[in-house]
Symmetry: C2
DNA sequence: CACGAAGCGGAGGCTTAGTCTCCGCTTGGC
DNA sequence: GCCAAGCGGAGACTAAGCCTCCGCTTCGTG
């Protein structure tokens, strides 16, 4: 499940690594991407080493700390998010653009727990994330403005409500990941319908609700880190 | 800011405590209620001792661990939540009942961070919370059923969506507490409008949106524990 | 093909944080 | 006035994460 091309190696021109070292470097990146996506940013470099079948020392030699590794990995993913915003902006139907932006953006986060945590919890990758946000903010504002102008979006929602919506939906992902990893789509549907100016008819729900006996597992869970 | 009566003392009939000990016991309960409400359940008993101006030993002598203290404190608060559900059930307008239940329930959680964490994160107070949930579930289901029957609630929402809504709004509280502790009301408004079957007109927003420069503080925050 | 430099592994040191115990001193109440 | 009850808080203990260090292995060049 490698998410991205693991872009060209050794970009900062140093003498090339020995073949085995280079092989390990790629392996670390590859495994780290998978592990961050699956278990979030709280995994330790020790975890990653173990999953990669390498010693901790090998990992630390190449990436001084988690910050560096994250930085190397998430540049591309963050660009994807920006691209989704651009796509939303280009949609001829302004509200549809906003809706797709929310849906696609949340899908990206649903498939990559690390990305989700980068955008929300943060502290980690602060520099990249600050940059990402500065790219997103004007795009989101513009999407909202367009949707307002077209009269499709309720007048009293504001641009800054959007990141809160992604935060909210993200919390659903966290809670339900191990039980029903797609229920967040229901909640997003509800929220989106709540954003419409004239919601003549409700958008049909994309997935089934939680079963009653799934509720305690979602709400009262120790939220494992696997 | 004592939230409740600190109900009658020494209910398990043992020989009465010495006057100073009893005084301290009450003080611990009082301070703990305030501190849990303000800073959440993650505060340590050592914290509580310090805030109460007592030694750690004194606290641990009376309450073997945090679990016991929480159990002693939150029984009443949880009953309040159930009472709110009952009130919703008695509202002649079924959807209004459900809406008030959500609003009042979230208000309780907004003013008591400990209560919010009990209901959501849990692990702590598991017994009480399990009981609370078993009280809530049928009431919520009934509220939803009534609102469906009246045709006011969109047909495809289900009872189990409700706790997810409270979870979502709770995550907004966590994120915004230190910046704009009332913005959650906006998001709840949006969600509620998204729940209506025929939302001829959007409910007016109860509070202002986040300012653009408040967004990074909300999203990228180290989320202090003060 | 041998030998030095490059790289490897992972035990374990260090730090941070929380939980709770222990015991010498203080105080309430008979 | 005496002593059981209670107090305070230093510090022992545990749990986790982060990262270093150094003896051993492997690469790749001469």
């Amino acid at each position: 499940m490698s998410h991205m091309p693991l872009r060209a190696v050794t970009d900062d021109a140093e003498r090339p690594l020995r073949a085995d070292a280079e092989r390990n470097r790629r392996r670390i990146l590859e495994v780290a991407a998978e592990v961050f996506a699956r278990r979030g940013l709280s995994v330790t470099l020790d975890d990653i080493a173990r999953e990669a079948g390498l010693g901790v020392g090998t990992v630390y030699r190449r990436f001084p700390d988690k910050e560096h590794l994250i930085d190397a990995l998430f540049e591309a993913r963050i660009e994807e998010l920006v691209a989704v915003a651009d796509a939303g902006l280009e949609n001829p139907d302004p509200l549809a653009g906003l809706v797709h932006f929310l849906e696609r953006g949340m899908e990206l986060q649903a498939t990559d727990r690390g990305l989700k945590e980068l955008m929300h919890n943060t502290g980690l990758g602060a520099k990249r994330v600050a940059h990402a946000r500065s790219m997103m903010a004007p795009r989101v504002l513009k999407m909202v403005a367009r949707a307002h102008a077209s009269g499709q979006l309720r007048g009293d929602v504001a641009g800054p409500d959007m990141p809160l919506i992604t935060l909210m939906i993200g919390s659903i992902m966290d809670a339900t990941r191990e039980v029903r990893p797609d229920v967040w789509r229901r909640l997003l549907t509800i929220v989106i319908d709540g954003l419409r100016a004239q919601p003549d008819v409700a958008t049909p729900m994309p997935v089934a609700p939680l079963a009653i006996d799934e509720v305690p597992r979602v709400m009262g869970a120790p939220k494992s880190r696997r």
